[in-house]
Symmetry: C2
Subunit: 168 residues, 2 copies
DNA sequence: TTGGAATGTCAACAAAGCTGACGTATTGTG
DNA sequence: CACAATACGTCAGCTTTGTTGACATTCCAA
């Protein structure tokens, strides 16, 4: 039966075979490890972890964001985020200011110190990303982004698109 | 200066801007969460974790693999892997047999029970992958794979390619 | 003024990684 | 043969990062 189907499929559907899907799964696993390796090395020296990196990244990306908003972007519990945020505030990397309109909210910003670490981390991560982009070329990059977007949950895609194409 | 460079770049290098690279970084973050979400839900019910999934996946993929080989694929310490492997063996999902040629080695196989869980997990993960592939199309999938491969560490790429295009 | 939303904090716990040390087979080598 | 190296397992202890649940505070809005 499998032999009978194969020739009918044509090559247009060959990328949907179990084997191709499994290779995609493995590619995600191995690539994600590379993706986090460089920042992880920097973070380990400063006794921070990936959770700190994520908080710093998205605070940089959305300056003045509230704790609740950051919570829904990161998809963790407030207790988990709070622990990370507390150390970043204590260490002077993040500033937390009471909201003007709604004083319950805290608005988060990177301090100059925090911005420096953000730059160090994202430089390292972008170096690898740049090398991968350059090696693969623009067409591959477009496909890469398309597949990743299609892989996201609706909520994640919403956050992702909300941050799309911001001016630097 | 930035304004001066922009027109000279041409659109062929537009995918290497900081903004594009940052979007790639965020796409990886959000997509990876989606990528693991479905198996995670199944695993949580059975009180297993992602580490168990990874072990099961690669034992399925390379039946009879040794502990050492699995170790280098997964990139964790033997203590960490051992904890996971022990529960899988105790629960009857994985069989460990003494090597014939080298009796120090243990060869790992999935039992029928282990194979059933593997199928359940990979079905869930492949469903999402298939949907993403279908939505993005064959050309995008090729680019996706290219970029991910370029993002891997050399050692990871080696493992990845060693498992390439196995017959099912 | 009272209910609910946003925030913060305490405690307890689990998954999954790490280091270091040690024991036991087994194998390869001088 | 003797000894070093390899493969594996295990004990103990620690870290990061996630989870629940409970509870207090502050503040907005009906």
């Amino acid at each position: 039966m499998a032999e009978g189907l194969q020739p009918q499929m044509g090559q247009s559907l060959l990328f949907l075979t179990d084997e191709q899907l499994r290779k995609g799964i493995e590619a995600m696993f191995f690539a994600y490890r590379g993706f986090t390796a460089d920042p992880d090395r920097i973070l380990a020296q400063k006794s921070y972890g990936r959770a700190h990196h994520r908080a710093i990244h998205f605070i940089h990306r959305s300056p003045g964001t509230t704790v609740n908003n950051l919570l829904s972007i990161l998809g963790v519990t407030k207790q988990s985020l709070n622990r990370v945020l507390r150390t970043l505030i204590e260490d002077g990397l993040v500033a937390s200011t009471v909201g003007k309109k709604d004083k319950r909210e805290r608005h988060l910003h990177l301090t100059p110190l925090g911005a420096a670490l953000e730059r160090e981390l994202s430089d390292a991560q972008r170096d690898r990303m740049r090398a991968a982009y350059r090696a693969a070329g623009p067409a591959a990059v477009a496909g890469f982004r398309q597949v990743l977007e299609a892989m996201m949950d609706d909520e994640a895609r919403h956050h992702y698109e909300a941050m799309k194409d911001r001016p630097e």
